[in-house]
Amino acid sequence: MKAVYALYTDPDAAQRAVNALRTEGVAERDIVVMSSEPFEEYEFSHRDKATWLHWIAGAGGLAGLIVGYLLTATTQQLWPLVTSGMPIVSTWPNIIIVFELTMLGAILATVVALLITASLPGRLSRLYDPAVTEGYILVGVDGPSEELAPRLDRALASVEGGQVKSIT
């Protein structure tokens, strides 16, 4: 198995390289693009919008809310101590704890979901090139089939400004 990639300085060139790979019939999920910034305005970065992350945050918040409610209401009843003539389960103050735990749940769920789905922490893939953090945009395919590989080299080189490299 080998891997092919090319480095571009210009995001427009990277876009054309991605398009060239598509024309060669590489599946969308096999095209790897790495960059040192998000390039939100380019089409190649639009493949993976995480719109569902909000729902994870919401679910985390809900979990935090339930934990907050149970924590306050049950512990107050476990040993019912009266203070300042307040009811044993004092809803008003408990709302504050519930609120904080709701937000904490939402934040933690977001971060955990973010890290897991972005495979962080993880190992560097063999495609990775330190030039990426210096501002190059890497477009490549990891492990293309034997007959596809040479065509990919050509496709990536056809875009001007690309430095094509391959790993065996």
Partner: protein, 452 residues
């Protein structure tokens, strides 16, 4: 670093990580010794008892609580402002966000130490945490101090993550630029970041959600700090205005701290090309707004008390207005209002130097404000037989100075190990900008314009 780089931005911003001057070691040594003095002062207090501090009957809270409120207030500079600017997509935020968020994290850590330092038995502070114990007792969730515990921990967790997540791509950059042990350390910190489109999207989406979530948390934190006072039926504490009043004051002092930190970074790390006068101009306007808001709150609070003319409240009112606390009170008014207002309102004075002067005044004024909230009310409780006074003792002053040193030290160390300006976010903004001259209205509007 030997690589010929086509990345001058990154060269500029990671330079402090690779090059350290003698001055840095010198100042770290000085600051660290001050912090050690503070630690020794705390040890002394632990050994002999909290009585070595100036607190007494009836002023049971003094400098420690003042510093607690002050530092938690400072923490409202960073994450809150950064999150708001991120949500409104203010383009000028990019060089500002990280150096602001760092203030939040360190100020929170310092601020959260004070309630522990001030405890009579600080080794039992963990009893505030909810955990099943052999004592079969849980925290009293009706106590504002339990609310503090939850609010500060939530805010600290959120702010820390909010700061750390956008640092990952920059850690990856340092990893790829360094060798040896440094490469391994930053490699671990970068968590294997490669900058795939998927990772970028998750990061952007996550930061967006975090920014939304952290704003209400930040507001709640200082509201709850104000509840520490307003829940007690103590004259001039028991006020419904305290929540927003404290939040406004917190943002006020927070922006002042941010301006000072940015000016220091600009000068010491030679970031003139990144932290423009225009950033100080914009933050100066924000500071002006908060100064006006602060004046409004103080007036509303004072007028309500004066008009109500309730005698136990009036005792506190006159003690601060004309009595023994009046010098501090009027210094506060001058520092928070009289000095910053003209400096920040006049365009000619709203320069880097001008905003820094105003910010120092505001920090002094806001510290005094917290002191004037904590102490005079306790010294003038309803039964006049129990009136008292408070004089801070050396241990309290040393600890206070030590926390300022600790803040500067932590900030310096942070900027030595992490690029203090988010490199990847600067790239997105196509920085460095050509210096923006805000002569015309159009260009001024352009500063606020969202990216396409």
């Amino acid at each position: 670093m030997n690589r010929t780089s086509n990345n001058p931005l990154a060269d500029d911003l990671v330079r402090p990580l690779f090059h350290t001057s003698v001055w840095f070691y010198g100042s770290v040594t000085v600051l660290a010794s001050i912090v050690l003095c503070g630690a020794a002062a705390w040890g002394y207090q632990l050994w002999y008892g909290i009585g070595v501090a100036g607190i007494n009957w009836p002023v049971f809270w003094g400098f420690y609580l003042t510093n607690f409120v002050f530092w938690i207030g400072i923490s409202h500079a960073g994450t809150l402002i950064s999150a708001i600017l991120r949500l409104v997509n203010a383009r000028w935020r990019r060089p500002v966000t990280r150096c602001a968020e760092v203030i939040t994290v360190f100020a929170l850590m310092i601020g959260a130490m004070f309630p522990v330092i001030h405890l009579g038995r600080p080794w039992l502070a963990f009893w505030l945490a909810p955990y099943p114990s052999a004592r079969e007792i849980w925290p009293n969730f009706r106590s504002p101090l339990a609310w503090d515990f939850f609010a500060i921990n939530t805010y600290l967790t959120g702010s820390l993550l909010f700061l750390l997540l956008p640092m990952i791509p920059d850690f990856a950059l340092v990893r790829d630029r360094s060798t040896g042990l440094r490469k391994r350390i930053y490699g671990l910190l970068a968590l294997g970041w490669q900058g795939t489109t998927k990772q970028w999207h998750r990061l952007e989406a996550g930061m967006q959600i975090m920014a939304i979530a952290i704003i209400p948390v930040a507001v709640s934190v200082h509201t709850i700090v104000s509840f520490d006072f307003s829940m007690a039926t103590v004259p001039m504490w028991h006020s419904t205005i305290f929540g927003p009043y404290f939040v406004a004051g917190a943002i006020f002092s927070g922006i002042a701290a941010l301006i000072i930190a940015m000016a220091a970074l600009r000068r010491l790390l030679h970031l003139e090309a990144y932290l423009h006068p225009v950033h100080f101009e914009n933050l100066g306007k924000l500071l002006l707004l908060m100064s006006l808001l602060w004046g409004y709150f103080v007036f509303a609070e004072r007028l309500t008390v004066w008009y109500g003319n309730e005698h136990s409240e009036m005792a506190v009112f006159w003690a601060t207005q004309r009595g023994e606390y009046a010098p501090l009170y009027w210094t506060m008014v001058i520092c928070n209002f009289v000095i910053p207002l003209p400096i920040l309102a006049l365009r000619q004075l709203r320069t880097v130097a001008g905003t820094v002067v105003a910010s120092f005044a505001v920090l002094i004024g806001m510290w005094l404000e917290r002191f004037l909230i904590v102490v005079p009310s306790l010294a003038r409780k309803p039964l006049s037989y129990t009136w008292g006074e408070y004089t801070p003792q050396p241990v309290e002053i040393i600890l206070m100075v030590a926390t300022f040193a600790a803040m500067i030290l932590l900030y310096m160390l942070f900027s030595k190990f992490v690029p203090i300006i988010s490199i990847w976010e600067m790239k997105v903004g196509n920085q460095p900008h050509p210096p923006v001259v805000t002569e015309t209205e159009d260009e001024l509007a352009g500063l606020w314009k969202a990216r396409p």
